[in-house]
Symmetry: C2
DNA sequence: GAATATTCAGATATTTTAGTCTTAATATAG
DNA sequence: CTATATTAAGACTAAAATATCTGAATATTC
């Protein structure tokens, strides 16, 4: 089996989206995230630290510490998160894995995949996470 | 990084498509496939055996032996191959990995992903490999 | 029947991804 | 200043995916 994004990346998307629901400057602990999202604690910790190093999140130690967005929610799209965790090789590689597949030398589904891939790109960039958070009343998160 | 199909599955798609170019009843050795497609010999062998067990290919031992399609090329789609190797969980799972994501309780990109996923399905079933082979003059295969 | 070319089956090895554990650093509250 | 709650960092383990190896089975040709 194989998904379009790695598990790490899925967790990252979920976590950042959760943080986008919070008010600016409010810090959220790994403990809360792990409970609400049902993600293994230490694994999530590593992902959040990674996103922090890359500037998408900010963090603060100590009691009242935790993680928050590293920039305004309106400046973050899902694409930024995918880019940071999985990279975006899927944007320019053949869906059947042919190394030589190009516009000049296309595989049997080259064009169709190109369209779909553009659709994925659009899906990832067309809304920022502030807009997403607005239309989202935490349906997917486990109650506290 | 993460691709939509596993490497195994990519190799399977490539191999079956290559076999579809051959005339009915012609057997092709792993050696030829491995050379033309640049896939590790023993890894490809395992994949072909798997596809044979599942009926998509047929095989014959001995000199003049090898692999061929297990049913008429017009009855095989890319979907069959993906189904056999990776499975098709991606057809009904949330792209962000939310376990509870459903139509009633959708994630932020539920609808968009549903459309794209249907597009992928269409891409995989709309042509059989006989049609594909017809319009394909082996551009993606390394010369012998 | 012997030699050879192939697939078959299963064990092993390697690499990547996923997940865990432990200790240190740091901020807060009292 | 001390106790405590947090993140940071890195080592470690586990599982899955990818790849390799070896010997057996089988079909063909001579």
């Amino acid at each position: 089996m194989s998904l379009i994004f790695s598990r790490q990346c899925e967790y990252a998307l979920q976590a950042v989206l959760y943080l986008a629901l919070k008010s600016h400057n409010e810090m959220t602990s790994i403990k809360e995230l792990t409970k609400r999202l049902d993600i293994p604690y230490h694994f999530l910790a590593k992902i959040l630290q990674d996103l922090t190093r890359k500037g998408l999140l900010s963090s603060l130690k100590g009691p009242t510490g935790g993680f928050g967005l590293g920039m305004p929610a309106k400046d973050i799209t899902l694409f930024h998160i995918v880019e940071a965790i999985d990279g975006v090789d899927f944007m320019h590689s053949c869906v059947m894995g042919f190394p030589e597949c190009t516009g000049k030398n296309p595989c049997a589904v080259h064009e169709k995949w190109a369209n779909l891939r553009d659709g994925v790109y659009t899906m990832l960039v067309s809304k920022n996470i502030a807009e997403m958070a607005k239309n989202m009343r935490k349906p997917e998160y486990q109650s506290a």
